[in-house]
Symmetry: C3
């Protein structure tokens, strides 16, 4: 189980880092900029979570495999960004898997540090979407996750929430994490397929 | 006294969250984006303060009433943003009250954690203006508090500074907090009324 | 030795703060905005480092001389920004010296807090470039350090990396810090003179 989690964690990091690298290449950043954006996208969510729960130094600094994986993804993007952009669909699938894993693992870690189910769910969401927000801010654009995306954060909320509720009810954690991750992934997958979105306020244009 | 502080704290959070929600609606963010911007505006200042003084997990995560209040404000904005925009003047008044409370409470909390009066005043300012900065950065614009606003941060400096000076001189804290909050609010109120502003550097256009 | 380090640290802060102040004046921020941007540029890197290694409250808050130096630089910029802009070349030299000092001192501090050489080098880079990133984000532009600059971050990597490697091999720290700082400064100096840059991904325009 633990090995499977680590493996999925690294896959999530790799795919998140790809999305940062692709954006960096589009903005004509140099090699270093591509690496920074890849790393920031992959580990910012986890670093913010660790700082907020007092788990310093954060896992992303204590364990060199995480950042190395993100840097590898940055180098891959730098050289083969054309291919990655054409692979858009598989990347979206991996990204949904990464989101599901990050939301569930982030919630579980916060619960292990003694936070309430409410706070732990929030930290799961932060773990899942923090990287994408950092990525977009670094190229000075409004984070896409705040705009109309297909239930991105809602999926993270569902995944983390299930783990937190199971914890509050005293249910076993492992199956709750599996169910939470699957539901998060499935919701995001269906939302992309069907174009499900959250509403925008009516008459937002007319001040 | 303590209940009054909590009440004002929640009012401050609610009004700060309204300002974030209104900006989010104007930028056509979806419901989730509105909630995130409302929460970020309301609690970022306090979270940054808590992380910097080592009070983790931050109060905003440990106490679910704070974020719930911010989310409620987000939902209210989402549905009745037109009314809120027309209420601009009352909102500015509440916002000034929130700023005064946050600056004074932030300084007092930092002093309680053993920081110097100098550092505590800075943390009071950060508590007061941090949320507005996060709100503006999330929609990729230069924070208004750094541009020509009517003595926004200066008012926070005065409010927090009085609490810090009273602490350094060994004076009782409660009256200092009341005086600091009143002066901060009064200064901001007069600045809005009279259009008081800080100067801009001369010839800033001619490089 | 310790006095020399403190002196260079303050010089680094002063010069970094100048670069923030100049940018603030150009964006027509008011006096407070100039001070905030000067301080943010000077101390953000160190504050982020201190939060990540658990050294709270951060040195920039605990020691009032650091922020006072940054504010002094902000006031100087506000009044004589025209002169400072004409001094561009000397400022670039001081900035390179500040980068070298910050990268080396940041790495050494992280090592002293028990982090691995890998993580310590990263924290050295963050200490060196974090301020510039915060400065650019606050005026809503993509950080220049991520775009094509003359080996800015690479120089920080070399400086911090030498200190970390020396630590891992058990060599004495003081000479490693001197060599690291000199190499970092020299690399940045030559890169500015000769226009050395990192590559941009080929065909970045053609998606």
């Amino acid at each position: 189980m633990s090995f499977a989690i680590q493996l999925f964690d690294l896959i999530g990091i790799f795919v998140f880092a790809l999305s940062g690298g692709v954006l960096a290449v589009r903005h004509r950043l140099d090699l270093f900029g591509v690496l920074v954006l890849a790393c920031a996208t992959a580990v910012t969510g986890g670093i913010v979570r660790d700082v907020l729960i007092g788990a310093v130094p954060p896992a992303a600094l204590a364990d060199w495999t995480l950042l190395s994986t993100a840097m590898l993804a940055g180098v891959v993007t730098f050289h083969w960004h054309g291919i990655i952009e054409r692979l858009r669909n598989p990347v979206l699938m991996f990204d949904a898997a990464g989101l599901a894993l990050f939301a569930v693992l982030g919630t579980a870690k916060a619960l292990a540090f003694g936070l309430s189910p409410f706070a732990a769910t929030l930290l799961g969401i932060i773990t899942g979407i923090g990287g994408g927000i950092a990525r977009d801010l670094l190229v000075a654009r409004t984070p896409v996750v705040l705009q109309q995306t297909e239930l991105y954060a809602v999926a993270a909320l569902v995944g983390g929430g299930i783990v937190a509720i199971a914890h509050a009810l005293g249910w076993p954690q492992a199956p709750a994490m599996v169910v939470g991750a699957l539901l998060c992934f499935g919701l995001r997958f269906m939302a992309i397929r069907r174009g499900w979105r959250l509403p925008v306020a009516r008459d937002a244009d007319t001040p």
